[in-house]
Symmetry: C2
Subunit: 81 residues, 2 copies
C-alpha cells in the first residue's frame, strides 16, 4: 500500500519552488501525493494544524509534519497573508 | 539524466527522521540521492554552506537548498554540537 503524503501550501513563491521539487519528486510507487492549497481549501487548515503543521510549505507523511524551508506561518495563512 | 540530490545531516534525531522519510522517498528514476553525514565528512561542510544550507537536515537539489524541519544550525554543526 502506498503511503499518503499531503503537501500543504499557500501559493507563495517558496511554496511553489518546494512543490515543483518535492511534490513531484516522491516515488509514485511508494507515495500517494495530495496537494492542498489553503487559498482554495481553507477548510483544510484545521486538519493541517492538528498534524503539527506550523508553517508552509509542509508535507505530512504518515501523520508526521515536515516543514520545507519557510514560506509563511499558519498565522499568516489564517490572516490571509 | 537523473538529478543530483544531496541530503546533508548531522546524525541528530530530527535528521534521522527526515532521512528515513525523504531520502528514501525520492523517485529513484529521477534522482541520484547522496547522503552526507557531517559527523563523518566534515570536509563537506564548506560545500553545503556555499549551496545555502543554513541548518540540517537539508537537501540540495539542482543547487537549491531545501531545509526540512530544524535539527541543528550550521554553527552547531561546526561547533560539534
Amino acid at each position: 500500500m502506498r503511503t499518503k503524503a499531503i503537501f500543504y501550501h499557500a501559493g507563495c513563491s517558496v511554496c511553489v519552488s518546494a512543490e515543483q521539487q518535492f511534490a513531484a519528486a516522491l516515488d509514485p510507487t511508494k507515495f500517494d501525493v495530495e496537494i492542498v492549497n489553503f487559498a482554495s481549501a481553507p477548510e483544510r487548515i484545521a486538519e493541517a494544524e492538528r498534524a503539527g503543521v506550523a508553517s508552509v510549505p509542509a508535507f505530512v507523511i504518515d501523520g508526521a509534519p515536515f516543514h520545507i524551508n519557510f514560506g509563511a506561518s499558519m498565522a499568516d495563512v489564517k490572516g490571509g497573508a
